[in-house]
Symmetry: C2
Subunit: 205 residues, 2 copies
């Protein structure tokens, strides 16, 4: 286990350096989770036939959604990326029309030879004690060896949102909201994580 | 209300054409919601002092998260974008350290002069009947006139996830998961939107 990235690796057709550069531009820094995420997306694509229209279920909020958004046409805002936060570092790439897909996840039982990766994934050490270069090298060398691949059938009905069929004006805030949410919007019914009217927040305009 | 985009508009320092090009590359197509989303992000930035470290709360899954991810450093995977799906086309840009921020939303009461925009937001017409060029032109001409700005104080504790402090191996699937989720991971307790083992899904590898 050296500390140099494996030079020959490609991630969805990008060289490691091309992917790293795209990650820095979008995600802000070359996080180990983004490298691991790239490996998951790449492996998933290798298990689906080319040319399919694909959506993704992502099971964590951490890093992996950004690897999906960089390497696939699926984004949060275009509806192709479905975040179902099960807390696992795993994704499912599936055909939009049938739900047939492949799930890729980290196989915890395969981490024995890779203590840096286990320490990272299970937060066994404080972040400042992490040797990021060694961790990145370990991830690239481990590659598919620490990943599990399994065929899945996605329940398309479970992912579909029926909530947005009709919109109304909320009688409290005067904004549009999904009528199915009830007599007033969720924001006006205590679900907003903020209070309106902080002092001095509006600086100009 | 002509049908040509207002040529002088800028969105977070980008020309309309530069923004449109970035939208097509990331989101897949120049959706009206991405143009409206760009207007919201731009207006929010104009109400915060420069140089702050900012996070975003986005209140809808539709389009707006992608405008945020294109125009701010905040993404879903780096934790800067907090999706709190209240079903409203609105976002809050706030200082990470204090929670002081500005919320920008669509003011439904201001849509009277803009029937195309109202029809779009309230899904009053089927999508195939939408005149997208006229709608985009209306959005650019309406600009800030249809938006509401208000100071807010974000409850930072409410956005923080304490769930990820400790990880364990799930005794059922053998994958890592947040210990706080219980004796087994949420995926193994019925929350996964798929069934494992579909026929013929793994094509090669």
């Amino acid at each position: 286990m050296g500390t140099e990235p494996a030079p020959s690796i490609t991630i969805c057709g990008l060289t490691y350096e091309e992917y790293a550069s795209a990650v820095r531009a979008f995600h802000g820094h070359l996080a180990p989770g983004m490298v691991l995420g790239g490996l998951l997306v790449d492996l998933a694509y290798r298990h689906r036939p080319p040319g399919e229209l694909l959506d993704v279920v992502c099971e964590t909020r951490t890093c992996l959604p950004d690897a999906v958004q960089l390497l696939t046409p699926c984004t949060l805002g275009n509806g192709g990326l479905h975040l179902v936060d099960l807390g696992r570092f795993a994704l499912t790439l599936f055909a939009k029309d049938t739900g047939a897909g492949v799930r890729v996840a980290v196989e915890a039982g395969a981490l024995g030879p890779w203590p840096e990766i286990a320490a990272f994934l299970f937060k066994q050490a404080p972040k400042h004690a992490q040797d990021t270069a060694a961790l990145l090298a370990a991830l690239l060398q481990a590659g598919d060896d620490i990943l599990r691949v399994e065929p899945v059938e996605v329940d398309l009905a479970r992912l579909a949102s029926r909530r947005r069929a009709a919109f109304a004006v909320c009688p409290r805030c005067g904004e549009g909201y999904p009528e199915a949410d009830g007599e007033a919007c969720l924001g006006c019914r205590g679900e907003a994580p903020y209070t309106v009217g902080g002092a001095g927040s509006v600086e100009n305009g």
